[in-house]
Amino acid sequence: MSAGTDKGRDMLWQRFTVAIPYIWLLIFFLAPFAIILKISTADPIIAQPPFTPTFDDGGALLATADNYKFLLTDKLYIITYLKSVSMAATATILCLLLGFPMAYGIARAGSAARSILLLLVILPFWISFLLRVYAWMGLLNNHGVINNFLMWLGIIDAPLQLIYTDFAIYIGLVYSYLPFMILPLYAILERMDLDLVDAALDLGARPSQAFWDVTWPLARPGVIAGCLLVFIPAMGEYVIPYLLGGPEALMIGRVLFDEFFVNRDWPLASSVAIVLLMMLVVPIVFLQRSQAKDAGGAA
């Protein structure tokens, strides 16, 4: 009898622990999402809160799709979205090009060197993200370290315009998100069986062929994970374009911020956020499908 209730309690506990991540998602993702979605269908008013209710006093639906129509027809927004995608994608590719050799090198280093190198990759996380971006402002400034150094060397006469350019945004993005590329790549390269590469060489492959035939396809899950971890936050990045980019640096995160806090157009800002989310969710779902298919084919 008591054993039965114990068992029942265990089951309940088990269910509860399994449910925790779902509860987490529900509270911290789904609920805010629902609120934002609701606001995005309202009209802005000067009131508190600054948007119209979803239903009027009689219970009739007031929701509109006007904000979305506006977003999808206004050239400015479309360009901003496209520009964000292209900047995030470029930053992701740069991270991959830099991160892959680094991860490869770390994974193949001796065990003592490996832990030091890994530590160096993680070290920047000890300092606040904002501080690190400010540090880049100091470096890239017209009278910053880099310009002063180049002028001291005599390579240039006048300071280069480094800060407040797309170049500065790329530096900021690549610098900030590189560890997110390196770590998943390292994880997968480190546990890869080196005999596989040797086997390819043994069967007549050049080292470069062995890389593309064996190392690359087996590292693919790490590449995908790394690219998502860089692309998603880079796409919505607000601080870096705001601090390092020029006034015309149109990234969607910045537009979103301006709509919320400068224009106080909450409904439009919400719809910008929803569209951004959709733009991120679609490729993620697509990638997950293809990965699941890969795993399914192998299992």
Partner: protein, 373 residues
């Protein structure tokens, strides 16, 4: 017992290792190995775990650069050649099958790298899959295969390129006993059919005995002996080989009288003088070891008549019945335990010997191995 013995061993060796060494920092994994292997031989390298077998093989395949020494294959110095340039293929201890490719793709990979035409790849792959009986599985991914099937994929992938030399690192270690025995004969057949020179690494001595034309016994990076299975079993060069291959009883002692190709050895362990035959000239007082295999020893309850034979009294300490043979552990008066095995030729209701029976064990001088090293 001996497989295909030294057939068409040409005048010059097909594979030759000269003073080959490999150091990892201070650690010497392979220590000045010299070896010659003939064309078409099935050569085994036998040794305990960590003795340097894989390292030696990896140097032959080109994955490890020797610290010193040279490697010749078919008269060509390949020491500085990259793996893909060597006429050698390797079957890895881990099999190293590409997990993202089907069985068919795995096997075809080496041919694709050699730019063999599509049509030929197709026929050769299906031929070799037929040979290792994997045709049914050609479209499967490696993780849908059993250990034994994977091992055959690895074998097929290495064989399909028709290398001059095939290096096999513990090819059968992952298989159960039945399958292993079956595959051993399959391997010998394949080797016979294709005439490829095989170098097989194993730590299973029975496997080495069954498969090989010759065996190298390896210990701590060195070769202790190279010879036919019969040579290393019946005529071991030293104590290590004698002890490593099969079971053996060893009596330490000193030479008492020597001459005429025979010696008499005083041994406290035996409690009586032991006779051995040897060509070597030995001086009195030299430390030697007389070693006898369990199956070479006769056991009886009566003292044997033959005065030439060595005969020692003892007590049955333990006995085991194994169907075809019985194993006895005999305690000599000195306290030394001697292992004896006897064929169960007769079917009898009662056991021939019982615990604590007083017995005599004996062997002719020619059965005794004289070891000095």
């Amino acid at each position: 017992m001996t497989g295909n013995t030294n057939k068409n061993t040409g005048s010059h060796p097909f594979i030759e290792l000269k003073d080959l060494s490999k150091h990892f920092g201070d650690f010497v994994a392979v220590d000045t190995v010299n070896l010659q292997i003939g064309r078409g031989e099935l050569f085994s390298i036998l040794g305990a775990s960590g003795c340097g077998k894989t390292t030696l093989l990896r140097m032959m395949a080109g994955f490890e650069t020797p610290t010193s020494g040279r490697i010749f294959i078919d008269g060509v110095d390949v020491t500085d050649q990259a793996p893909y340039q060597r006429p050698v293929n390797m079957m890895f201890q881990s099999y190293a099958i590409f997990p993202h490719m089907t069985v068919e793709k795995n096997v075809a990979y080496g041919l694709e790298k050699d730019r063999v035409s599509k049509g030929e790849i197709k026929t050769r792959v299906s031929e070799i899959l037929e040979l290792v009986q994997l045709t049914r599985f050609s479209k499967r991914k490696p993780n849908q295969l059993s250990g034994g099937e994977r091992q055959r994929v690895a074998l097929a992938r290495a064989l399909v390129k028709r290398p001059k030399v095939l290096l096999l690192d513990e090819p059968l270690a992952a298989l159960d006993k039945k399958l292993r025995e079956h595959t051993q004969f399959e391997l010998m057949n394949i080797q016979d059919e294709l005439g490829i020179t095989f170098v097989v690494v194993t730590h299973d001595q029975e496997e080495a005995m069954i498969l090989s034309s010759r065996i190298a016994v390896m210990e701590k990076g060195r070769f202790e002996q190279v010879g036919t299975p019969k040579e290393v079993y019946e005529y071991p060069d030293n104590r290590f080989v004698a002890d490593f291959i099969g079971t053996i009883n060893m009596f330490e002692g000193t030479v008492e009288t020597a001459g005429d190709g025979s010696i008499s050895v005083a041994s406290d362990e035996a409690g009586a003088p032991l006779t051995g035959l040897t060509d070597r000239i030995m001086e009195n007082g030299v430390k030697v070891c007389i070693a006898v295999r369990p199956e070479k020893i006769f056991i009886s309850q009566h003292e044997p008549e033959n005065q030439e034979d060595t005969c020692l009294p003892g007590v049955v300490e333990d006995l085991g019945y194994f169907g075809n043979l019985s194993l006895y552990r005999i305690r000599l008066d000195s306290g030394k335990i001697v292992q004896v095995s006897a064929q169960n030729r007769r079917r009898s209701a009662e056991r021939f010997l019982e615990w604590d029976d007083r017995v005599f064990i004996s062997w002719p001088p020619r059965s005794a191995i004289v070891l000095t090293e």
